[in-house]
């Protein structure tokens, strides 16, 4: 379903996605309730919120892994763009780094003869070239996460979602992932990043969606969100107070 005309973003650009009344249940338990939000066609949107807010469920819903029970997702071009999702725990197949990327390219329908050049490009982009022949599961946590991002990029996504990609990484590995995200952002791929690290959100976000207990409490440009959060929940979260 195409984007409703009334929901244009500031500046007149057409959003990548407008969600209206999005409701998702797992079993009988409502995890997301009546979410209305927009995603811009470029830049990095951070999905912020405490544990159990429904952030990962929202990513899985946007990826098409979960079906909403109510509401609608209106994508810019009617059909959803090619989406890719990077999971919190990086997926490393029981093969070498090159072979994992080749697998992802085969999933994307890239012809076999075109794969080596694309693999070289992805390895270069994600700083994995020296590790190309290593078994994927022998990489460090940070390297595996960059491989997971490279694997997602192999799908040539028009929208990339990342579920806490630095949750278990040390500062150096986190920095490497953040630099990679900056490179991807410059390529014009819209990003949606889940984190509950406020500092990381401050460093990276162009726009913030704040979720609490399955409801969207705030949607704002990053500068406004961090300087003058409108909702009491977001204020409490940014001040490091415990949310009920």
């Amino acid at each position: 379903m195409p984007v409703p005309e009334l929901r244009l973003l500031t500046g007149g650009e057409t959003p990548l996605l407008v969600a209206e009344g999005l409701t998702v249940r797992i079993g009988d338990h409502p995890v997301l309730e009546g979410l209305d939000f927009t995603l811009p066609p470029s830049g990095l949107t951070v999905l912020l919120g405490p544990n159990g807010a429904g952030k990962s469920v929202l990513l899985r819903t946007l990826q098409g892994l979960l079906a909403p029970v109510a509401g609608r997702l209106c994508w810019r071009d009617g059909d959803p763009p090619r989406r890719a999702l990077v999971f919190q725990r990086p997926v490393a197949l029981r093969r070498r780094v090159r072979a994992q990327l080749a697998f992802a390219l085969s999933c994307a329908g890239i012809p076999r003869r075109a794969r080596p050049a694309r693999i070289a490009e992805l390895l270069e982009l994600c700083d994995l070239a020296p590790l190309a022949r290593r078994p994927a599961r022998r990489l460090s946590g940070g390297e595996q996460q960059r491989l997971a991002i490279a694997t997602a990029l192999a799908l040539d996504p028009g929208f990339l979602m990342l579920d806490e990609p630095t949750a278990s990484l040390d500062p150096a590995a986190t920095l490497a992932v953040e630099r990679l995200l900056a490179r991807i952002r410059r390529r014009g791929i819209p990003l949606l990043l889940v984190t509950h690290d406020v500092h990381q959100a401050r460093r990276l976000a162009d726009r913030v969606l704040f979720l609490h207990r399955g409801r969207l409490r705030e949607e704002a440009p990053a500068t406004r969100f961090f300087t003058a959060p409108a909702s009491p929940q977001a204020r409490a979260y940014l001040e490091g107070r415990l949310l009920p």
């Binding site: 899985r60 892994l65 999702l85 997926v91 029981r94 992802a104 078994p135 599961r137």
Partner: protein, 237 residues
């Protein structure tokens, strides 16, 4: 004691001299059990993965059934296949009774549930690890099976070896449907039973040594495969 030592000596003599009868029996045993294991893997591995992947009415019953059938008594399988292949049975016209083909069928019936149940367990653990990833990569349902089989390839070798171990050591079913006919359907286990009964301990011992070697080799291979699998699967730990 002397008698036992003499039998061991004779057995080793048979092995070293390349006794045609002995090696004929060994070759037939390997052929029958390898063929049965291959067929069981071709049937059981995709079936096990499908059981892990899909949710459908009756699935739980099938899961319980395949697990229960892992312990099928060989003589019951022998009787079942005998009734199928005997002249009055539904497949009697094929004339397979007392042929190596009948033995392959019996061993396949024994091994397929083992392969299916172990593959299902493996598939479920692989799905827990890769299910969402494969779905996100557009590999859902049947399209996920080749990737899951590939990711589980080392563990699947162990599954196949477990099936082969069961087939090569089995005696009741092949005795009933093969008939233990010399130079036609005599395999190691049936020959050992027969020769021991006749008091021909040397040949029985020689076959026993070969069988033991095969069993040890299979276990060693399974162990090596598990090591390789652990190396790749748990490198993160």
């Amino acid at each position: 004691m002397d008698e036992l030592a003499r039998a061991f000596g004779l057995a080793l003599g048979l092995l070293v001299s390349g006794d045609r009868e002995l090696y004929g029996i060994v070759a037939l045993s390997l052929e029958v059990s390898l063929a049965a294991t291959l067929i069981a893997c071709l049937l059981g591995m995709p079936a096990g993965m499908a059981l892990a992947l899909f949710r459908f009415p009756g699935r739980r019953m099938l899961v319980v059934a395949t697990s229960a059938l892992m312990g099928l008594p060989p003589v019951v399988v022998g009787l079942f296949v005998y009734l199928l292949l005997s002249r009055a049975g539904p497949l009697g016209a094929l004339g397979l009774l007392y042929t190596p083909a009948a033995m392959v069928i019996a061993q396949t019936v024994l091994v397929t549930p083992i392969v299916t149940a172990l593959t299902r367990e493996l598939g479920e653990s692989l799905l827990a690890e890769y299910g969402d990833f494969l779905a996100a990569m557009g590999r859902r349902g049947l399209r996920a099976i080749p990737t899951l089989l590939h990711e589980g390839r080392h563990a699947l070798v162990t599954v196949a070896l477990a099936g082969f171990g069961r087939a090569i050591a089995e005696v009741g079913a092949v005795m009933m449907v093969g008939g233990n006919i010399r130079h036609v359907t005599r395999v190691m286990t049936t020959a050992i039973a027969l020769e021991t009964g006749k008091g021909e301990i040397a040949l029985a011992l020689a076959l026993g040594l070969v069988l033991l070697t095969v069993a040890l080799a299979v276990n060693a291979l399974a162990h090596l495969t598990r090591l390789r699998e652990a190396e790749l699967a748990h490198a993160r730990a």
